[in-house]
């Protein structure tokens, strides 16, 4: 086995989150501490907060709330004195923070580390849509000046949907089926933002945001927080008899500027990150029992079925028609409800996906009818930026591989 | 030494509105098949000028960096204190020491630009000059001036070599007359009594300038194959023609106002372009502009080169069209944003 791997070296021993939604009555700090306290409680054999030696803080600060220093966590969670690094990588922030915490623990620097993600998007009007006019949309420095009003998120991802439709004959109804599946499971998840089912017709008849994406193809604007505790594998038993092990991680980026991208039927960073993660984990797509994908938009998730290798390039529409992404299908995806139904508080999403993996791999997914049977290996993915600029993937398992 | 036109280009917007639809919106009737252009909501005087200028430069076939000066004639510059020509300059690849001259406040500014440009070429200061006339006229909704007010641009590259048409001579005539004005605080143009403006304004000045031109060059009306005029009203050229001894066959080819309306400073140049598209070598064109007590009359003679550089650009833009309704016309012209409140 190559030396450049963290496989089996790190374990997740605690994970906690809060119900996502429009949490006007909870402040940023309220959410963060609630998630953290739930996380501490979830450690089977208990943990003393003083054992946490370092923290990685995922916060994309996407609407300029100015919560962007590690000191914020020290204050809110009572963790004064320990090293806290704030991570930002657009929507991939959560997974990236987790990845870096794992590296530090695997390198032997810390025994126990905390990863906390928190995002408040609804304290300012417009939420993410306001990004269109805010300099925060300098995610796109050049094309934005070029176009003066920046491309919105739906537009940037919709470009991939259109090309995929043109080249492979996918239709809007296939995107709709993905949203329907997400709501089907989100409705069962007490932590979801939206808890109702929808139909394909609902999706197709919804107002168009940015053709080919309509209102029900787009994830909502959500507040939320999540936290996980990672530790060295060989001390995991101190905290729980069923730790979840980190097998591999991958991260890749491509140009921000839309016209410098090469292929609009593939989200290339996801392909590259998956390659890295699979190699480090020593598994292939067929070994993945379930996945938490980044379905900021329905077309994104559909394209991910191909990019991550769950089906062949161009065959996502068949994959979807055959319901392979449901429990009982080839690769259940987004059984939490995904970003579409569970919600997408930018930085907290990645960490919340780790929480979902933790629950599924230990057979304790909350909500009835939401447990993937015999889950052993799970994959968690974020895609960040307007249009896939970056993707971060982590593969976890409930035993060492 | 002759100075003249090396190349020309036009720009006509895509959308049109029928004057009968416009009249109907106000409960009136306009039973003639006249239509005018409607600029798309994202166009303005400078974008139209830029496309016309690029077409002219492509047609002239010259190296853009040899253009020594840009003369921009308009009454609707987006800025009162930034030169339209200096913004236009950033859109074509000219040298930083190219002179930028804005001539404004009159629909005659396009022909005045031509005169200034020719003077600069004659004095040797520049080799080629770019003359652009561009306007986006909007009339007050419900007024008479609204009928024909429209948008368009035309550009000429002028020089001494490789001419497709020479300017044989110019005669200008100007008095203190005015009939149509717009002050700094007024949003829309205003006009006084129509007969007064027509007789003492348009007809008097155009006829005088035309007569002076013919005397100066010792030419007679039938020495001219074509005659083109500014078209603030579609009946005026006919009235002028009669008094200058011109026939309908001479003026009809240039009556582009029927299809595009009155495009301000570019009106007379668009009419010239329409005729240049068709003119054969060694044909003489009379061109007379008018605005507010001033007229410039030109005698333009096509050269042998015009065949080699034949283009049908006016027809190409004219046939690219789609009709919009009066509502869209108002929105695209941003009339609502010009109103107070």
């Amino acid at each position: 086995m190559s030396e450049r791997t963290i496989r089996n070296k790190v374990a997740v021993v605690g994970a906690g989150t809060i119900p996502f939604g429009e949490l006007y009555d909870k402040s940023f700090e309220d959410m963060m501490s609630e998630a953290y306290l739930n996380c501490l409680e979830s450690v089977d054999k208990g943990i003393d907060p003083k054992e946490i030696e370092a923290c990685w803080y995922a916060n994309a600060d996407i609407v300029w709330q100015r919560h962007s220093t590690g000191a914020k966590v020290a204050e809110t969670l009572g963790l004064t004195g320990i090293p806290i690094t704030r991570v930002e990588n657009a929507c991939a922030t959560g997974s990236d923070a987790f990845r870096n915490a794992c590296f530090a623990v695997a390198a032997g620097l810390y025994d126990v580390a905390l990863v906390v993600g928190c995002e408040k998007m609804l304290d300012t009007p417009g939420g993410l849509i306001g990004m269109v006019d805010l300099p925060a949309s300098i995610e796109y420095p050049q094309p934005r000046f070029f176009n003066m009003f920046a491309v919105t998120m739906p537009s940037a991802f919709g470009l991939y949907g259109t090309r995929h439709m043109h080249v492979y004959g996918t239709e809007r109804k296939h995107f709709a089926m993905v949203s329907v599946k997400s709501h089907h499971y989100g409705a069962k998840n007490p932590y979801s933002h939206f808890r109702r089912e929808i139909t394909v017709d609902d999706v197709l008849n919804a107002p168009i945001i940015s053709w080919p994406l309509g209102l029900y193809d787009c994830c909502p604007i959500t507040d939320g927080a999540a936290a996980v505790i990672v530790c060295k594998s060989d001390i995991a038993k101190k905290y729980t008899d069923s730790p979840v092990y980190v097998l591999g991680s991958g991260l890749a980026s491509q140009p921000v500027c839309l016209n410098l991208r090469r292929d609009f039927t593939t989200m290339e960073p996801a392909v590259w990150a998956a390659r890295q993660a699979y190699e480090m984990a020593g598994v292939g797509p067929e070994d993945i029992d379930f996945a938490e994908l980044h379905d900021c938009f329905s077309c994104t998730e559909l394209i991910q079925y191909e990019d991550l290798g769950f089906c062949k390039k161009g065959e996502a529409k068949t994959f979807v028609e055959n319901q392979e992404m449901y429990i009982g299908g080839k690769t259940p995806c987004n059984i939490s409800g995904g970003l579409k139904s569970h919600g997408h508080p930018i930085a907290a999403t990645g960490v919340a996906q780790i929480v979902e993996l933790f629950w599924q791999l230990r057979n304790e997914a909350p909500g009835k009818g939401r447990q993937v049977p015999n889950a052993e290996i799970g994959l968690q993915q974020n895609i960040g930026g307007a249009g896939p600029q970056v993707s971060c993937i982590n593969v976890l398992a409930n035993k060492k591989m | 030494m002759t100075i003249g036109i090396v190349g020309y280009g036009v720009y006509i917007p895509w959308c049109r509105v029928k004057l009968s639809d416009l009249a109907e919106a106000w409960g009136e009737k306009f039973p003639f098949p006249v239509e005018k252009t409607v600029p798309f909501w994202d166009e303005d005087t400078i974008t139209m000028a830029a496309e016309a200028a690029q077409n002219a430069i492509n047609h002239a076939g010259i190296d853009e960096t040899e253009i020594g000066a840009i003369y921009f004639g308009t009454t609707t510059n987006p800025f009162l204190e930034i030169q339209g020509s200096s913004i236009l300059k950033t859109m074509i690849e000219v040298k930083t020491d190219t002179l930028t001259v804005d001539l404004t406040d009159s629909a005659r500014s396009s022909t005045l630009s031509m005169i200034a440009c020719m003077d600069a070429i004659r004095s040797g200061s520049i080799k080629y000059g770019l003359v652009v006339g561009s306007d986006m006229l909007v009339g007050k909704p419900g007024s008479d001036l609204e009928y024909l007010a429209s948008s368009g641009a035309c550009a000429l590259v002028m020089g001494r070599e490789n001419l497709i048409a020479e300017v044989e001579g110019v005669a200008s005539y100007g008095t203190e007359f005015s009939g149509r004005w717009r002050s700094e605080t007024q949003t829309f143009p205003r006009m006084t009594m129509e007969r007064f403006v027509r007789e003492q304004g348009y007809i008097h000045h155009v006829v005088t300038a035309g007569t002076k031109l013919m005397e100066k060059l010792e030419k007679k009306p039938d020495d001219f194959k074509y005659a083109v005029f500014s078209q603030p009203d579609l009946t005026y050229p006919t009235l002028v023609a009669r008094r200058l001894g011109l026939t309908m066959d001479q003026i009809n080819p240039g009556m582009i106002g029927m299809s595009v309306g009155y495009t301000g400073s570019s009106s007379v140049l668009l009419a010239l372009a329409t005729v240049l598209d068709k003119a054969k070598p060694r044909e003489r064109i009379m061109m007379i502009s008018y605005d507010n007590g001033g007229s410039d009359a030109f005698s333009i003679l096509t050269t042998e080169n015009i065949e080699a550089k034949r283009q049908n650009i006016v027809e190409k833009y004219l046939k690219r069209k789609t009709y919009v309704d009066y509502n869209t016309y108002l929105r695209f012209n941003r009339v609502f944003e010009k109103l107070p409140g």
Binding site: P125, G126, L128, I129, G130, V132, D133, L134, P135, P141, Q142, P143, F145, F146, N147, M148, F149, V151, T152, P154, S155, L159, T162, R163, M165, H166, F194, R195, R196, I208, I209, S210, W211, P212, P220, I221, C257, L258, N259, L260, F264 | F40, D42, E43, D44, I46, T47, E51, P78, F79, I82, I87, T90, M91, E93, K316, K319, R320, F332, R334
Partner: protein
């Protein structure tokens, strides 16, 4: 549970984060003028690909080289992919299509649409915008023309 519809035209949606200023008076826009007004690109001397928008100290996105020829990108091209955005900032009349365009000389640019009405979404018969459609780039006002216009390129269906 009600879904919250993100509304672009709402209070607090600041019409003009840039304040009331003219393009060349604002450094990032002034620097962007060669690309925005003249479609200048940088052709890599090593791999031949065109990098756009242009920059000083450019590093080729495709191969990492640092020597370039300045080129004017062709104004004609084909649509690679597009979306039709229905929600526009104030002062902008939508819906408008946004497309990635491969130009005839091998560069890739992005632009919003003009001189067409993409109201009919999708590749149905009669929709003005389709993948692989030939288009040309023209200079127009970008965004809201009032109080001050900014200029840049948009695409329109080719004139015959």
């Amino acid at each position: 549970m009600l879904t919250i519809i993100p509304i672009c035209v709402s209070i607090g949606y600041s019409k003009s984060y840039r304040g009331d200023c003219m393009a060349t008076a604002f450094p990032p826009y002034w620097r962007a003028i060669p690309g925005m007004h003249r479609l200048v690109g940088q052709k890599c001397k090593k791999c031949g690909k065109v990098n756009f928008p242009p920059r000083k100290n450019m590093i080729c996105t495709y191969c990492g080289a640092t020597e370039f020829d300045e080129v004017h990108i062709s104004r004609r091209g084909k649509i690679v992919t597009y979306v039709v955005a229905s929600r526009m900032p104030p002062g902008v009349i939508g819906p408008e299509a946004f497309a990635i365009i491969d130009t005839d000389d091998g560069a890739r640019v992005s632009a919003w649409s003009t001189d067409c009405f993409p109201k009919d979404y999708g590749a149905k018969e009669g929709s003005p915008i389709k993948c692989d459609m030939p288009v040309e780039l023209v200079i127009r006002v970008i965004g809201n023309p009032t109080p001050t216009p900014f200029y840049g390129f948009k695409f329109r269906p080719i004139m015959e």
